[in-house]
Symmetry: C2
Subunit: 466 residues, 2 copies
């Protein structure tokens, strides 16, 4: 990936800002090299940009103070959550301040009566679900990593449950954001729906820290379903597995999860998570509802999969078996890396209309084979969303180039089929090259909004906008 070096603030400016920050935040401003290193990148990509300072705010007012000061001195600010984003969002390309939000770790309110909660941005999805376990509620959005809720909102994340529960777009009711000039603004409300004015909430969801900093999030919660059944169904061919998914979606079958793993991803998962399955294209399924409803749905899906060459369902009946199954699914990124120690894993993220999914997946599979690279396919195929984990040796220029080219073609194929270059990882640095192709003049509108809300361009420079 070409990382264009952006102009950095002058050392004198940084020294001045650092001194002002330290006056208010004390030891929560640091230039320790280990901390700077840790805040120079996310997961998955070699994109690195070293911040000049890392700051650990604890209140909305402190975030406002940091931003207003940086805005005054034109010092870039890159918000940082759990550090798990995959497209280079966290690299401080123009130096400046990495704003570490992990101390925003408070769950501010949980309302079982209204099925919602309000959390600070640094709360992780696992911490939230552990906290609310006794209420009989859960928060469904589950990217593989134990990401922060603020980071998930910023990248419009989703995961395995989105086919039933939606993505962060559908599950964020409102936000507290801090603008680059230091205003603390609440967007949305606790109402389930509203048509009172421009939808600022969904403007900030997915804006990847380029418009301001998300500090608090109002989220929908859901009752834990009465009955849950997970099953694994293995296929002789990728075609059969995909065709079964398309048929299930078109049959109005409500499933909570429909995950596809190709035979290479299955090999990785079997080895890494010690699963007892065949190395063939496989669907991981989950059904939720009333006991009768689940039984009906399972039977319908068994008929559909059998029609498309699927084997007998292997049920994960006990909660611990289900947990093990979904943990294996969530660990696919690590499992792929373990296939070839020393190699890096370039994760792609394409999403197409359901009707285009079979052609898109099969063309992509043929492309992988032709490339000579190892690149397992795994996907939230119920949404038309899939990933490749392209293994490559970053020190091998030729292999790196082939990996980049394969990722590039995968994104362009999805766009050409009416889809998007990113279903859930965001744009960051790595997908900027596709923005013009996907959005055309929409890019100019995005830039106009960016310039209106961050006129000095201090928020996460070098990301998202071409």
């Amino acid at each position: 990936m070409n990382v264009h070096a952006l102009p950095r603030p002058k050392p004198k400016t940084i020294a001045n800002v650092r001194a002002r920050l330290a006056e208010r935040l004390g030891a929560r401003v640091t230039v320790s090299q280990a901390v700077l290193d840790q805040h120079s990148h996310g997961e998955g990509l070699p994109a690195v940009g070293m911040p000049d300072l890392v700051v650990f705010p604890e209140t909305n007012e402190e975030v406002a103070f940091v931003l207003a000061l940086c805005n005054e001195h034109r010092v870039p600010v890159t918000p940082f959550g759990a550090g798990s984003s995959l497209e280079g969002q966290l690299a401080a390309l123009a130096g400046g301040v990495s704003l570490d939000m992990t101390r925003f770790d408070e769950i501010l309110e949980v309302s079982p009566d209204s099925l919602d909660c309000r959390v600070q941005a640094g709360v992780t999805r696992e911490a939230l679900n552990a906290h609310i376990r006794d209420t009989g509620l859960f928060f469904p959005v589950d990217p593989g990593a134990n990401a922060s809720i603020g980071g998930m909102a910023s990248t419009r994340a989703s995961g395995t449950n989105a086919v039933r529960y939606g993505t962060m777009r559908e599950n964020v009711l409102g936000l507290t954001v801090v603008t680059p000039d230091g205003r603390i603004v609440r967007t949305g409300s606790r109402a389930r729906k509203t048509s009172a004015g421009l939808d600022l909430t969904h403007l900030y969801v997915g804006s990847e820290g380029t418009l301001g900093v998300i500090t608090e999030i109002q989220l929908k919660l859901y009752g834990v379903p009465e009955s849950t059944v997970a099953a694994v169904c293995q296929f002789a061919s990728l075609e059969g597995a995909v065709a079964a998914v398309v048929m299930a979606l078109q049959s109005n079958l409500k499933m909570a999860r429909i995950e596809l793993l190709d035979e290479v991803q299955m090999r990785a998962a079997i080895r890494y998570s010690k699963l007892d399955y065949e190395e063939t294209p496989t669907l991981f399924l989950e059904f939720q509802g009333s006991p009768n409803g689940v039984r009906e749905d399972v039977e319908t899906m068994q008929a559909i999969t059998a029609d498309h060459g699927g084997g007998a369902f292997q049920f994960a009946e006990r909660p611990e078996d289900r947990t093990r199954l979904w943990k294996a699914r969530h660990n696919s990124y690590q499992a792929v890396r373990a296939l070839a120690p020393g190699k890096a894993n370039m994760g792609t993220d394409a999403c197409v209309p359901i009707s285009a999914l079979p052609a898109c997946l099969l063309e992509t599979k043929a492309d992988i084979v032709a490339s000579g690279l190892t690149a397992p396919i795994v996907g939230h195929v119920g949404d038309g969303n899939f990933h490749l984990g392209i293994l490559f040796d970053p020190s091998d220029a030729d292999e790196t180039e082939r990996a980049e080219a394969l990722a590039f073609r995968t994104a362009r194929r999805a766009i050409a089929m009416g889809g998007t270059c990113s279903g859930e990882h965001g744009v960051g640095l790595h997908k900027i090259v596709h923005m013009q192709t996907e959005h055309g003049e929409g890019v100019d509108l995005m830039k106009a909004v960016k310039n209106a809300l961050d006129p000095n361009g201090i928020m996460n420079p070098g990301k998202l906008y071409p």
Copy 2:
């Protein structure tokens, strides 16, 4: 309502623009007084603003031509669909062009495989559903009026099905918009989810024609459920009916519709639609799913309603009975007007978190009684959304003031309870007075976005922004 007169374009400017428009659009530019009258207002409110011209474009390029020309000459443009909006959105407060989109009446594409379609903005929801009936699919969002899909997107409309299928926010995948300077821009994609950049789609959804003109809409469709059961359950008290709704929502019970009508609204509906029910607080319910699933849901809801003083379910079994029931619900606006011929019906539109719904409804009911006005309550209470139809004589200044005051207090009560002044009707002219209270500094961010995307302020001036 105070309608501030806004400065209008000079007659010479209008004459010039009219001549340029007529060169390209011929007789589809009109100054006929009857047409101007018809385009000077929506439903429900006395807000009137006479346009200077009404224009009937037929293509995106014609819309772009009209907008670019008006932008050049600083002539206001107010988009106009079915004319059914309720908060004064359609009044041409500063004169100029009323852009009538009814000739955008083509259904461009229906994909049963991907469960989506693309329609032009002037297609009405009933026309769309009639068109796709044979595919086994339907589009669920159903405001009472037979509104245009473009208007519904512009006001972020919803209706009786939103508790299950969401509002326009959840059901619009992408748009074609024309910007004030005449660019034709496609937002979103056909993918079910995307995290590729700022969410322009949801910035335009709900923007009420203030950022540009929506000309095409990509919509989600749904399979007609296998089984549908509608039922009516009558209660001795409003408290009991609302408590049953809250309990149903908290019990994870998936219903397609949960509509509340108080005893006054029931009197109106019984008279207008010749229904055979009691004049008591009533729930109209609809259950959808597999036959077994529906049976289970009905039984659970029967137990819940019985616990809260609800009577036996009166089922509308046959499709024609269901149609009659929901038609009566959809006609509630007309039914209320028929209660007092000659009076106007001021529709309010508040939405609160579910936990606040009982207190909000009961306080509002007490407020209505104290006001001495007739104001039936009807609501999509599954979303926490409800309306009053406040009957008043517009020629009676005192009664008009009391009606406005009741509407004002209803909106402020909802905001104070964590809700919104508008669940689904939008802001228009009538709710501007609440924007600062509900959004605080968020209003400044909305204005910044507005100024960035419509720098000359030609789009629907005097609406939405305080």
